[in-house]
Subunit: 210 residues, 2 copies
């Protein structure tokens, strides 16, 4: 670090805590994965920094190398989960032959992700109360990607030409609710079937008009 | 009251606190309306019973006539808001000439309700952390009504015959996200336009196949 740090408040939040070594990046990931479990199981108020470092198997000092507070790691965690989800879904979506198939693959991989990371709902949803800006940013960036995909599909003539922002928010909401109902609440639902039914609604709803 | 009461815990929660007079029902509604403002502005943890009674203009004793705790009025409030929303939307939906028009009118009236009751998102969403059973019940009852409507429309031949549970969850999610984006976050969006675009997606997505 080149500059003196106060260790408190926004000034501290601005110091560059990005790890510079592979070992540092591994520790940071361990802390974030542990934070996902700690916040997911206990919720923001009951979660503790010592609970996170214990789960991560790191010293308390490592925590403070990267974060100044529970609030700060929570904020980083929302972004981390949002990026994990994006990195899980994006390559699958990009392999699809067209936009409708991409939305189906996207929903199916999202439902699979929810089954594997059930804590995602609790963490993203708690951000509404702990850090509203992170909550809103998660949805705005997710929907912006979806909208780009729709508009690219429309430009290629695969779906209706007017597909845009309202459609993207509608599809995002559809996916989040189907994930809650069939990914989070219901262990036994056939998620392929859910994705097929929902995608059939979209395939017709977004069909090109000539 | 006929039975001795402990005033604590589940036993107390079981005593019948339904008001028997019109005046009692008015007081109860005043308390619930005040609770919506108090919880909506301050969130569950910072909200207080005295804050609720102050806003309601009632004595503290009136609160304890109907509720034993902050948790109990919060739980009642989630149900109250869920019912208010239902009572706002249902008559509008019932006047629609067919199922697609009903969904459009339903979404439009929901978007209008959100504009008038912005606190609904914060309260329902906070139930996920304060009282999960209420949170889940709100969505399950809302979606069950939607599903009934879809199945009745399918039976009348107005929409595809296989419209059912997955479609109902998809539409509910769509509406909740459109309400957040265009009702809650954006004061200036033309909600008629939003409802028209979303309904056009549904009209085609749910079209009858012969």
């Amino acid at each position: 670090m080149d500059q003196p740090q106060s260790g408190h408040g926004t000034e501290a939040a601005n110091r560059d805590k990005t790890p510079r070594t592979e070992r540092g990046r591994r520790t940071l990931r361990k802390l974030l994965d542990a934070a996902a479990v700690e916040f997911g199981e206990r919720g923001f108020h009951d979660a503790s920094i010592s609970g996170i470092t214990r789960r991560a198997g790191t010293a308390l000092g490592s925590f403070y190398t990267y974060f100044d507070s529970k609030e700060e790691i929570f904020q980083a965690l929302v972004r981390y989960m949002s990026e994990q989800l994006r990195d899980h879904v994006t390559p699958i979506v990009q392999e699809a032959p067209d936009e409708i198939a991409a939305e189906r693959a996207g929903l199916l991989s999202f439902l699979g992700f929810v089954r594997e990371h059930k804590e995602i709902y609790r963490i993203i949803d708690e951000a509404e109360f702990v850090d509203y800006a992170s909550y809103r940013r998660h949805y705005e960036t997710t929907v912006a990607r979806m909208r780009q995909r729709l508009e690219a599909g429309a430009a290629r003539g695969e779906i209706r030409a007017d597909a845009g922002e309202v459609h993207a928010w509608a599809i995002a909401g559809m996916n989040v609710f189907l994930g809650m109902r069939y990914g989070l609440w219901d262990e036994t639902a056939d998620i392929c079937d859910v994705a097929r039914i929902a995608n059939d609604l979209l395939a017709n709803g977004l069909k090109r008009r000539d």
